[in-house]
């Protein structure tokens, strides 16, 4: 009996190692991916070991059961036996699974301890989730930005064909160097989110007001995609994560480019303050910004979702109180889902989106909001 069990188990192991080899070639559709870090491949091995053990147990138990169902049928004229206990057998099948469990727990605990060891990182990124986007801030350089879904609304609404990375593409991916220990500090601005990149085997909840840590060391340059993994409201399915791992030299170049871009953007802001933009330019830019960041809640038609997200169309704030309107866009509203966009959008974008909201969908106030108007309110003047 025991020999039988053992050989059945080996057979399963062999079967599943066949699966193993195949799965590594075709990453994808039916199995966990081995990923691109040492940890993720350890996790993958644990997964395959667990899978093999489970298949082994299943084959054994169901095997005995189906044999019994075949042999011990009344239609074969079998007379039932009358045994109903056997202390030895019962002890055996309590103790043996117990031992198997211990065997499984030891490598799992080892991997777990390695995963939770965030000490001595080479660099740190602060990852902040909010409804429904991610924000990345490099703690070691002057780079920070939001990362939003880049899939077009028309694709989601089935008006355009869906591109390859449908729902798994963002406007500005996170960029990290390969071969370095990158520590992620993870937190949230509103509800609980969860930052998950399967190829790194990193999934950590972003809790509002609290900070969590995770780390990775990517072995291969490439583009890795993940998604938010904790239900975070209406557009939970639409906040993907894209990470690009670059060779350290390329990465360093990317960082300096980013820092330069930020400096340029600041200069541009200053220049804008002295200028007036015209209505049509603001409306065009405003519509783009509105659809990218506002339409998720307030809907493309400005009517919001009654009882959940207020309408902008016809609202007092958008028709009359212009400083109040700019203030709420800049600073958000406490205790609601309305967040502060002052840090996320440029002065030009803010001016454009407020102008758009005040003139679209029949909100025909004719108001033109300039970057300097926004700046005045932002500076508390």
């Amino acid at each position: 009996m025991r020999r039988l069990a053992k050989s059945a188990l080996t057979a399963c192991m062999m079967m599943s190692s066949g699966v193993y080899a195949e799965a590594q070639q075709a990453v994808s559709d039916i199995n966990l991916r081995p990923g691109v870090t040492d940890i993720s491949s350890q996790v993958y091995d644990l997964h395959m070991m667990m899978f093999a053990i489970c298949v082994g147990i299943a084959v054994l138990v169901f095997g005995v059961m189906f044999i019994s169902m075949y042999l011990h049928r009344k239609s074969r004229g079998v007379k039932p036996a009358n045994f109903h206990e056997n202390v030895k057998v019962e002890i055996a099948w309590t103790v043996v699974p117990f031992i198997i469990l211990i065997v499984m727990a030891i490598p799992a605990a080892k991997t777990l301890i390695a995963m939770e060891d965030t000490s001595a990182p080479d660099m740190t990124v602060l990852v902040t989730g909010s409804q429904w986007k991610w924000h990345y801030k490099y703690m070691d350089s002057d780079v920070e930005y939001y990362s939003l879904l880049a899939t077009r609304r028309e694709e989601i609404e089935n008006k355009y064909d869906k591109r390859d990375n449908y729902l798994l593409e963002v406007d500005r991916p996170l960029v990290i160097p390969t071969g370095q220990k990158v520590r992620f500090l993870i937190t949230s601005d509103d509800v609980i989110h969860s930052w998950w990149v399967p190829d790194f085997a990193v999934k950590k909840d972003a809790n509002p007001g609290f900070i969590n840590e995770a780390w990775t060391r990517v072995n291969e340059p490439g583009i890795y995609r993940g998604q938010c993994a904790e239900l975070c409201g209406k557009d939970h399915g639409f906040m993907p994560i894209v990470v690009i791992a670059k060779e350290p030299a390329e990465y360093a170049q990317w960082v300096s480019e980013q820092e330069e871009m930020r400096a340029l953007a600041r200069e541009e802001e200053q220049r804008l303050l002295a200028m007036n933009m015209d209505m049509s330019e603001l409306m065009a830019e405003g519509e783009r910004v509105y659809n990218a960041v506002c339409a998720g809640c307030h809907m493309p038609n400005g009517e919001g979702l009654p009882g959940v997200f207020p309408a902008i169309k016809g609202s007092n704030l958008a028709l009359n109180d212009m400083p109040g309107h700019i203030d709420i866009v800049l600073n958000g509203k406490t205790g609601t889902a309305m967040q502060a966009f002052g840090n996320m959008l440029s002065l030009k974008e803010l001016a454009a989106v407020v102008t758009y909201q005040r003139n679209a969908w029949g909100n025909n106030t004719g108001d033109v909001v300039q970057p300097k108007d926004v700046n005045a309110i932002a500076k508390g003047e």
Binding site: L185, G209, E213, G332, K333, T336, Q339, A378
Partner: protein, 193 residues
């Protein structure tokens, strides 16, 4: 009837258990805090000032403390740490300062919530003075420098060489008693404008 009174007795006892378990649900709130205090499970730090006990300073070791500042959704303040990273010897008393400014058009009362990662380090971070112990009001346009004084317990495990302290500012104007009556002790004399 015997059976009936036996039944009622039993129902009575079971109802008591039910009520006790309802109470237990609420008792989990303080129990959780106690549990966190002991294990540092959620990275919360002490909520009231500790007295600096002047422990022996362990000059053989260095611990880096990083500060992260954040404002919660709907909180318009500018908030930054003047010192973002400081290397300290366990036992030595240090002060760091945080800059805040209220750019909004209304008076706002803030509450800073600290969170430490890794969570176990929170057990060894002792704050003798912190802006996070109280509500912090700022009138529209005001700014302030808020100090935080702390020392790292020399008992801190050897494998903790760096830890991160995050402060998140929340707008608690709605739940503060009377925002006008609260004076900010750290107010920097004149208003920003």
């Amino acid at each position: 009837m015997a059976l009936q009174s036996e039944n009622h007795n039993m129902v009575f006892r079971l109802v008591i258990i039910t009520c006790a378990m309802f109470g237990f649900g609420f008792a989990m709130v303080p129990l959780y805090d106690v549990f966190c205090d002991i294990t540092g499970i959620n990275g919360k730090t002490n909520e009231t000032a500790v007295v600096y006990s002047a422990p022996e300073i362990d000059t053989s070791r260095e611990v880096a403390v990083e500060f992260i500042t954040r404002t919660h959704k709907g909180m318009p303040w500018e908030f930054s740490a003047t010192t973002q990273r400081i290397v300290v010897h366990p036992g030595e008393l240090n002060t760091v300062e945080f800059y805040v400014r209220n750019p909004a058009r209304r008076d706002i009362v803030a509450q800073a919530i600290p969170s430490v990662s890794p969570g176990t380090a929170a057990l060894y971070l002792n704050k003798t003075e912190c802006f996070c112990f109280n509500h912090q009001p700022l009138a529209a346009g005001e700014e302030a420098l808020m100090p935080m004084q702390f020392y790292v317990d020399p008992q801190i495990p050897d494998d903790v060489t760096v830890f991160t302290v995050q402060y998140t500012l929340f707008d608690v104007t709605a739940r503060a008693d009377d925002p006008k009556s609260l004076d900010n002790p750290f107010l920097s004399g004149s208003n920003a404008e």
